[in-house]
Every structure is written in structure tokens, then in C-alpha cells.
């Protein structure tokens, strides 16, 4: 499974894309594994306005990752 970090999350982590194998079963497990390696990043993922997308669809709250190929963490957005 691929994990993508956007905006300030990528700068904070020092990476923007990483494989996670074996794939975690749920979004909560993925966050726990990330926090275990990098507590600051783990906290940032639960910070205000950070959303998650599983296979390019926004999810609210908890989500299963069974069969998911890509999880992205999206801090507050601003284009234009």
C-alpha cells in the first residue's frame, strides 16, 4: 500500500510518498504505525483540518483499508 503526504505534512515527515507493507487493515492502524516511527508526524495527522483519502475518495472518521492501494493525508487546502 502507498501512503502520500501533501503540503506541510510532506515537509514535516521528510517524505511525500512511501510504501507500507504489509498493508495496515484500518486507517487507525496506519496512523498508529506512522506515529510509532515519527511522533510529530503522527500528531500532525490528527491535527485540525487534516483529511484522509483512500484510493482517491475522502473518508470521514474511521475507514477499513482492505484492498486499498493508496492512502493520502491532506492538510487544509488552498489553491488559486
Amino acid at each position: 500500500m502507498r501512503v502520500l503526504l501533501f503540503g506541510r505534512l510532506g515537509d514535516l515527515a521528510g517524505w511525500r510518498e512511501r510504501p507500507f507493507d504489509p498493508p495496515p487493515a484500518t486507517l487507525a492502524e496506519l496512523k498508529r504505525r506512522i506515529a510509532a516511527e515519527d511522533a510529530t508526524l503522527g500528531e500532525a495527522l490528527d491535527g485540525p483540518g487534516v483529511q484522509a483519502a483512500v484510493d482517491r475518495a475522502l473518508v470521514r472518521g474511521e475507514a477499513t483499508l482492505a484492498g486499498a492501494a493508496e492512502v493520502a493525508f491532506l492538510p487544509p487546502m488552498s489553491g488559486g
Partner: protein, 146 residues
């Protein structure tokens, strides 16, 4: 038409194409956002998109605007990557039978792009880099439409 552009685009050429052959929809409102130099305080912008997700989310908003404002056509072109001062960042054009709807749709889509579209924007200046998040004014602007 929604397009993410990794290279500079030319708003005039986009508008010319968008207006061509238009004999029934008399009103075309458009907006171009240009990277500001901020008197030398901004040396460049870096805009991240999430290709494969960003286009779909913007397309959803363009469809909503089309319904809400009875548009005949929408064009959104949005840069990503490194953007120099003076380069266009975004262009929105809306074609409608009446000018009020065309203006409103364009205004609405820009408010959306500023505060809810999947882009992340880093300003690089002489004092380093900072990630830009929607301003209080951006959030007030988008709240007008809810």
C-alpha cells in the same frame, strides 16, 4: 473542461478558444489569478496538486456550479509545480445566457478553489518558505454560498 497544467499557460489563448463559435451563450465571465511578486517578498510559489484526485474534485464543483447557475460551459485551468511571479496560477471562465449568472459562477468557483480545492501552496521568499492556508477572508467568502 478541467485542466491541471504543469507548465505556464496563456489566459488569452484559453479565452479565445472558450469564446470561439459561441453564438447562443452571450455572457462569458472569467477570472485570472496571477502570482504576485509582493515587492520582492515572494520569489516563487510551489503548488502541489494530487493528480487523479484534484481534477475529479474540481470537476465535481464545476458540475455543481453548472447546475446552480445554469451554465452552458465552464473552463478551469490550474497550474501546479513551481510558479514564478507574474505567471498565471488559475483561470476560470463561465459561459451563460445571462451575465449575472456567469459572474456569480465565476466568483463562486474562485472562492471554492481558494479554500476547498485540493491544492497546497508554498510561498518561497527571501526569508524562507511557508505553507499558505485559506485566510479568514477566504473562509468568509466561501461561507457566502452555503
Amino acid at each position: 473542461m478541467i485542466r491541471l497544467a504543469a507548465e505556464p499557460f496563456e489566459p488569452g489563448a484559453e479565452l479565445a478558444r472558450f469564446c470561439a463559435g459561441r453564438t447562443e451563450t452571450g455572457a462569458v465571465a472569467s477570472f485570472v489569478g496571477i502570482a504576485r511578486a509582493e515587492g520582492g517578498q515572494a520569489t516563487a510559489l510551489e503548488l502541489q496538486a494530487y493528480p487523479g484526485f484534484t481534477e475529479i474534485e474540481i470537476g465535481r464543483m464545476a458540475d455543481a456550479a453548472t447546475q446552480r447557475f445554469c451554465l452552458a460551459d465552464v473552463l478551469i485551468v490550474h497550474r501546479h509545480g513551481a510558479i514564478a511571479p507574474g505567471e498565471p496560477i488559475v483561470m476560470v471562465a463561465c459561459a451563460s445566457a445571462h451575465r449575472r449568472e456567469a459572474f456569480q459562477a465565476c466568483d463562486y468557483l474562485m472562492d471554492y478553489l481558494k479554500s476547498r480545492a485540493p491544492f497546497w501552496k508554498k510561498e518561497l521568499g527571501p526569508d524562507g518558505a511557508r505553507w499558505v492556508e485559506p485566510t479568514a477572508r477566504d473562509l468568509e467568502d466561501i461561507a457566502r454560498w452555503d
